[in-house]
């Protein structure tokens, strides 16, 4: 589910950036627009809550949420740090596992065809259903959160790397094979570098879903983390704190996504450039 929300979010943000109604330069508009949208959303929210006089335990106004955020800043920071840690560790394991298995699976169509249905099946299992099993195995706490983050995020990495390696142009393969290149040569010289843009593109999806995985595990079974904090807050009817938790979650998600994009741009600038070049021919 999280896989589909991420691209939609980017699409809608580019749409709003593309609309030009102000006299500012296009570039400034592009920079201002995301902030304007966020602020506009909060203003609208605040106004709606005041206008219709929603009770605080149904929908707290942003001002109340910010107040709760400030009031509970220490527990929020502590639990956010826990969630960030489990996310990053689970994500890190997913990178290693996804890269290695992606290379292996992409290298052989036999392995690819053999393992793909199993992987699809595995990916279709809602991870929230797996958490109780993890709790039986590892107990409540940090480990199930890390494992859930890993389980939910290795798949996009694996699929992207495998695709990058499996789709090396046949002509290029012929050039290399005609020179006597071994399968390993082709993977090392072409397959892996070629799959890097796919790999880095998958990171931004993987990091956001890893984050979702951590929070799911914390919500179901944990004594720490931002998910746990929200569950505790809702059981005490501290609704503004629940919303504060959601807001922090969203902010952390955006930060992780932005970091992943920055890494992607830095590592594989050649891939977007080469596409521009090809279209210009």
């Amino acid at each position: 589910m999280a896989d589909t929300t991420a691209p939609e979010a980017t699409r809608s943000s580019t749409d709003t950036q593309a609309s030009k109604g102000f006299s500012l330069s296009a570039k400034t508009q592009e920079q201002i627009m995301p902030w304007a949208v966020v602020i506009g959303l909060f203003v609208f929210w605040e106004a709606a809550v005041r206008l219709f006089d929603f009770p605080e335990f149904i929908l707290p106004a942003p001002s109340v949420i910010f107040e709760a955020m400030w009031q509970w800043r220490l527990p929020i920071l502590e639990n956010a740090a826990q969630t960030a840690m489990t996310t990053v560790v689970g994500f890190g394991i997913a990178i290693v596992f996804g890269l290695v298995t992606g290379i292996v699976i992409g290298s052989s169509s036999l392995i690819y065809n053999g393992f793909y249905p199993v992987l699809i099946g595995f990916n279709s299992i809602p991870k929230v259903a797996v958490v109780p099993i993890l709790v039986i195995w590892f107990g409540i706490g940090t480990v199930p959160a890390i494992i859930t983050a890993f389980l939910i995020s290795f798949f996009p990495i694996l699929v992207n790397v495998a695709t990058g390696i499996a789709t090396v142009e046949p002509e290029l393969k012929d050039v290399l094979r005609a020179l006597g290149a071994s399968k390993r040569d082709i993977i090392v010289k072409v397959g892996i570098p070629r799959s890097l843009p796919y790999f880095f593109a998958s990171l931004k999806i993987a990091i956001t879903v890893a984050f979702v995985g951590s929070i799911i595990a914390e919500t179901v079974a944990s004594n720490k983390g931002i998910g746990h904090l929200m569950i505790v807050a809702s059981s005490r009817f501290e609704v503004p704190l629940v919303f504060a938790g959601l807001l922090v979650t969203a902010i952390m998600g955006v930060i992780m996504y932005v970091v992943a994009i920055a890494i992607e741009k830095r590592m594989t600038g050649w891939s977007t450039r080469s596409m521009d070049g090809a279209s210009g021919l």
Partner: protein, 265 residues
């Protein structure tokens, strides 16, 4: 048979199974002398590219024999250099590193790579100069035009000094002026390095301008139905392509291809 540098003796090649597979070549025989430049033309789908695969050992023949340099071909040969219609350069490598790629794979260069990298670089630069790409060493493929990319592809096919150069419609994706320019480049390269060249093309002017001998293939399953020596003196100038005797040869070849297509239909 068995005297030429490349010998193709009564080759049949079938893709897939005995009953359902496609017979791409049948009764294909061809002999190319060392240092000769030949062109193979034919109607589309006649198995020209299959012929290349059979010669380079990328695809095993179903019956008959292929030998290159006196050895029966049973797998890929490192004395072969290839270039295709698509330049297939690696976008993450500079021009120079793209040209050097075969040296990282074929022996003896592969094991000498660390020790003699500087020497190999000089070699690659010399080749780039020969095709008119001096000073483009550090450019990436996306910074080059289509014609330039194809020149780099040609250099990559030549860097390991292959005795046999196989070109599969290398200029087909280029505009006419760039194509004619690259004919000149290819002729220069051939006259300098003297490899044996097999050029597969559907451009008759290209075939007649470049080759010592042009072979016409039948429709699928492909075999040679006509061969013609081209005796213009070298180096050939583009002006000869406008001479009547050049036009007559191209016209005559065209008739053979037309007949081959008629037979197929």
């Amino acid at each position: 048979m068995g005297k030429g540098f490349v010998d193709i003796d009564d080759v049949a090649l079938r893709y897939g199974g005995e009953a359902t597979g496609t017979l791409a070549l049948s009764g294909m025989s061809l002999t190319v002398d060392k240092g000769e430049f030949i062109a193979v033309v034919g109607p589309s789908g006649c198995g020209k590219s299959t012929l290349m695969k059979a010669m380079s050992g990328l695809w095993p023949v179903t019956s008959g024999g292929v030998s290159v340099a006196g050895q029966t071909v049973s797998g890929p040969l490192s004395i072969v250099g290839m270039a295709f219609q698509a330049a297939t350069l690696l976008p993450w490598r500079t021009t120079l590193d793209n040209v050097m790629l075969p040296l990282e794979i074929t022996q003896p260069y592969r094991s000498e790579m660390n020790r003699r990298r500087g020497h190999f670089r000089d070699k690659a630069r010399a080749l780039l100069k020969l095709v008119g790409l001096e000073g483009f060493d550090d450019k990436y493929p996306w910074q080059l035009s289509g014609g330039m990319q194809q020149r780099v592809s040609l250099c990559r096919a030549l860097i390991h000094e292959p005795a046999l150069l196989m070109l599969d419609e290398p200029f087909a994706a280029l505009d006419m002026f760039t194509r004619e320019e690259l004919w000149g480049v290819l002729q220069d390269v051939w006259m300098t390095k003297k490899p044996t060249v097999i050029l597969v093309t559907h451009d008759l002017r290209e075939a007649v301008y470049l080759a010592d001998k042009v072979y016409v293939m039948s429709a699928r399953p492909g075999r040679i139905i006509h061969e013609r020596d081209i005796e213009f003196a070298r180096p050939r100038d583009l002006d000869i392509t406008f001479r009547p005797d050049f036009g007559d040869i191209a016209h005559d070849l065209r008739d053979h291809i037309y007949t081959a297509r008629q037979d197929a239909a």
